[in-house]
Symmetry: C2
Subunit: 331 residues, 2 copies
Amino acid sequence: MINKSSLAIISEPCPSTDRIEYDEALRLSELEVRKCLKTAPPLIRRQTSHLARAAGKGIRARALLACSISSDGFIRHDAVNVAAAVELLHLATLIHDDIIDDAEMRRGIDALHVKFGEKTAVLCGDFLFCLAFDLASSISPRETDKDKIDDVLPPYLTEICLGEIREFSNTGNLDLTEREYFRIISGKTAALFQATFHAGFLLSDEPREAKDAYIETGKQMGILFQLVDDCLDFVSSKKKAKKPVLTDCRRGVVTLPLIYALRADNTLRGKMENGLSEQELKAAVIAAGGVEYTQSKIKNCRSKAKKLISSLGSENKQIRLELLLDKAAAL
Amino acid sequence: MINKSSLAIISEPCPSTDRIEYDEALRLSELEVRKCLKTAPPLIRRQTSHLARAAGKGIRARALLACSISSDGFIRHDAVNVAAAVELLHLATLIHDDIIDDAEMRRGIDALHVKFGEKTAVLCGDFLFCLAFDLASSISPRETDKDKIDDVLPPYLTEICLGEIREFSNTGNLDLTEREYFRIISGKTAALFQATFHAGFLLSDEPREAKDAYIETGKQMGILFQLVDDCLDFVSSKKKAKKPVLTDCRRGVVTLPLIYALRADNTLRGKMENGLSEQELKAAVIAAGGVEYTQSKIKNCRSKAKKLISSLGSENKQIRLELLLDKAAAL
């Protein structure tokens, strides 16, 4: 585990006002997200203010900013808006996702569609989606680079949608294979991490050849993040997870711990079909080794990501990204 | 009224393969939309194929292509993708719009959420939205121009969302003012026309100074289009409108014919509150002059748009846009 305080000595004095340090960039991007939510048009301010009450971990903004650190240790000021944009995009997908999944809570508060109705939630998701694109499209590309931030986002967002659609069409499917599960989470979760790392790379001064390593790191971190979330559904308490646990199962979302348990314990399916209490299901999945198996997959992702990170940019960047990896992997 | 056949003589031979004629561009953009819908990922192909069965009038694609005609009478080949993108964006907004409005039919077939459920419809709308951005972001800007197509879209889309939210929050509000009604339709309908005209302008070789005239023409045409639609709800037959008529009222969407009628006939509100049959309401709105008043507004928009069009580009372009205006204004 890397000590965060060791980071201070790596930064050099800021060469100009349009280049800022990581901590400042993070602070500004959090402010920007809050500003967008708090100053939304009056018509939906009640809804967006509700969202502002429960900030996420900001792991995507942090990852974007870490990736955008240039070789001098500083970050382009306009990375702040892109970091805010990925968090807003994430929020937009969560709102629609909660409608699709019939989720009741999110980040410790009522899901938006529960509090304000599905129709309003559809509109709020759409609005934040547009706002995010608006923020991202304000960034001009590096002179040496033809790719624009808002050009790279759409294909990843299409992947997110497909992941969601794939998950939804497998609701309650106890025959879901591990392979198909990984296709689902590669879309619904990893694609936004890929977009985040890709955009961060574009904002940095890394050479073109480094692009694929960034995108792959994003993919591994995204998959790891989802695997951890899916484990938490079986092992966490409601308070810690900030949402009811075992909700995936209850809503028919089949995840890796259960997929493995169904494979390892061939009596489980019959028991589930005859009706199991939540506590019984939890115990059965853990006893069959479903959580342990998922943890081994998390470990794999973590080593892959760690190896990739060691090839990215400066030590400062690597330390930041490793800290994020630790954070994402914390069960 | 301009005769369409007179257009043939205006075009000159195509100077190169990447510049095409209007009719060819329109054919290709319609093909592109159908291709996107018919070859969507298997998971949602059933839904998108359902949409492909009922093509709209393509007025936005036609407007975009007309605006993008350059002084030599030809169109950049990549305008085809942008024209397809605006049609897909329109389709995406319709899908979410129909959820919000509880609409049952669209373009003569079941609305998507009726046939496949709300959750699927949310996802399909999101998917088409992403697809549209993907298409639009593939366009490189004119060398002389810094604006990119996908940079200009987000602010207009935000306006569309706000228009929808504004409409939704005024459901059943018989106190809706004419001023607020125009704010609603400026967002929900005119903003996409503005985006269309703006993007078309960017694809043409018109000088920078012409931008505002294009955007304003789009606004007038969009408002006119919505006013006509709102009149049709009172005067058309189900067969002609390809959707049930008087549905706005039934769903609590208050439009200009009713706003005027409520103002002109101060007994109408009481009658409505006591319960009026659909035929009685229709007759009352017409008798109070609501349709006639809306038609006078349509006429105003039409003259404004006509005057603006006469300042845009070549005669070829002007003729195309006037034809579209005639089409949009046809009650």
